[in-house]
Symmetry: C2
Subunit: 275 residues, 2 copies
């Protein structure tokens, strides 16, 4: 049996940051089974005391102190949580101190500046981008491509739609996508709606075996999903994109996050993300 | 003029974690204008040397060392990056050491365990959920609600769609949404397709002024967007949801992330997020 250990992610806001970084650290210990508890919105001393009671209860029950990852900003709340019987790892306290001394400034200790609405304009841009992406999915509304910042293309099930949604949701990028179908391969030219937007195009491709697997989950046993058809579609689409000098990314072993970051990196769109 | 300072986010993978936590820390210094550079996929000594050259170039140019946030796992790569003339803040090194001694184990130093495809089953669940959410948006495909884990309801533009997409993309939750329209308010009952799924329902509401603003951006000057109509729709929808004992969340000042976490928290939808 694996070693068991309880873990708490404690935050005065959503807990997304604490969870993300904490989980990344925990993946470095594959031999331990971690029991994870997330306690978001711990923004008062009372809520902090409830968390401490829960941590201490787990400590007693398991005979081992849990690991607590925290992104608490408020000193009073943090003081309460650190009183629990646990290994307390705080992602803010140490770094804020070092930044303060490097910058020669005192930090604002303000809450809610990430994962909140924060800068309302930036938030609005993200929501606009999500709406744009939803209404420009799968080759619809090509007339509005002048508003797109990037247009993903490639055959069905190469990851275009989730990548567009991720780019919109996380980065506020107006991302459209246009599927390449067998009809597009006959004359060796990019589909007409894409021609005026060549500079925004980014092509996705994938290994035929993986594509066949994904398509088979959707339409089992279909010609659409057959390895032979996947191979032929991929060969034709890659040749078309190469000929048209569209940059191509292989998504076979990449997550949506990795595809999105690769595109931002390759297109220089990341500059718009820079502040 | 604000104090200027350059910042680098350096990662051997996507850089998402380094950027997220780094930016959260930087928001604590509102009087400084940070110039941000993200360098993802720094996974070889050669790439690390290129990053160091760029950091040192910026140091020379600006006469001040940049701040470097890193999530580098590989010791050789990290050794190169730390040789740059900069304030080096590493989100892994310190914490990994403390975890190793608490757990009595050596960490695996393995790359790519977050934001990659990682656990392929979990990744597949997220992609399935995104597809489900896209095909169950805005009240379509109500016959498949048995597969939904949560069904968001509320009047148009309360945040249902982006919240569903976020829940699907980040947590692999099958989230559907069903809009409440004036037609639904006449008989004082929830719409028929929702009745068999009462336990999965979660209602969203918003202040009328904010709703009118959002709707006016979409359909300026319309009756749909008028403050009077927004007030009346919200009053009727809240009364309907209260009567049907559907939990209600006010999204007026909440981001999609905060709405999603609040729903996960309130419904106990995934155990990991529960406290």
């Amino acid at each position: 049996m694996k070693i068991q250990r309880s873990v708490f992610f404690v935050s005065d806001r959503t807990g997304i940051t604490a969870e993300l970084l904490g989980k990344t650290l925990l993946t470095q210990f594959p031999d331990v089974e971690f029991h994870k508890h997330t306690t978001p919105f711990v923004d008062t001393v009372e809520k902090a005391e409830a968390v401490v009671a829960e941590i201490n209860r787990v400590t007693l029950q398991e005979g081992k102190p849990p690991i607590v990852f925290s992104t608490l900003i408020n000193d009073d709340v943090r003081a309460v949580v650190t009183s629990a019987n646990a290994l307390f790892l705080d992602f803010f306290a140490d770094f804020i101190g070092r930044l303060e001394s490097e910058l020669g400034l005192t930090s604002s200790h303000a809450l809610g500046l990430s994962h909140g609405m924060g800068d309302e304009l930036a938030y609005q841009k993200r929501m606009d981008a999500v709406n744009y992406t939803l209404s420009h999915d799968d080759g619809v509304n090509t007339a509005n491509y002048n508003r797109a910042e990037v247009i993903l293309t490639g055959v069905s099930r190469t990851g275009k739609t989730p990548t567009c949604l991720y780019l919109a949701m996380q980065y506020g990028i107006h991302a459209a996508n246009y599927p390449l179908t067998p009809d597009d391969f006959s004359d060796g030219m990019l589909p007409k709606p894409l021609l005026p937007h060549h500079a925004k195009l980014f092509g996705l491709t994938i290994h035929a075996e993986r594509l066949a697997k994904i398509r088979n989950e959707r339409k089992p046993g279909s010609r659409y999903a057959s390895l032979e058809n996947c191979r032929s579609e991929l060969r034709a689409s890659e040749s078309l994109m190469r000929q048209a000098q569209v940059p191509i990314l292989d998504t076979t072993t990449k997550s949506v996050e990795e595809i999105a970051i690769s595109i931002l990196h390759a297109t220089g769109l990341i500059k718009q993300v820079k502040s």
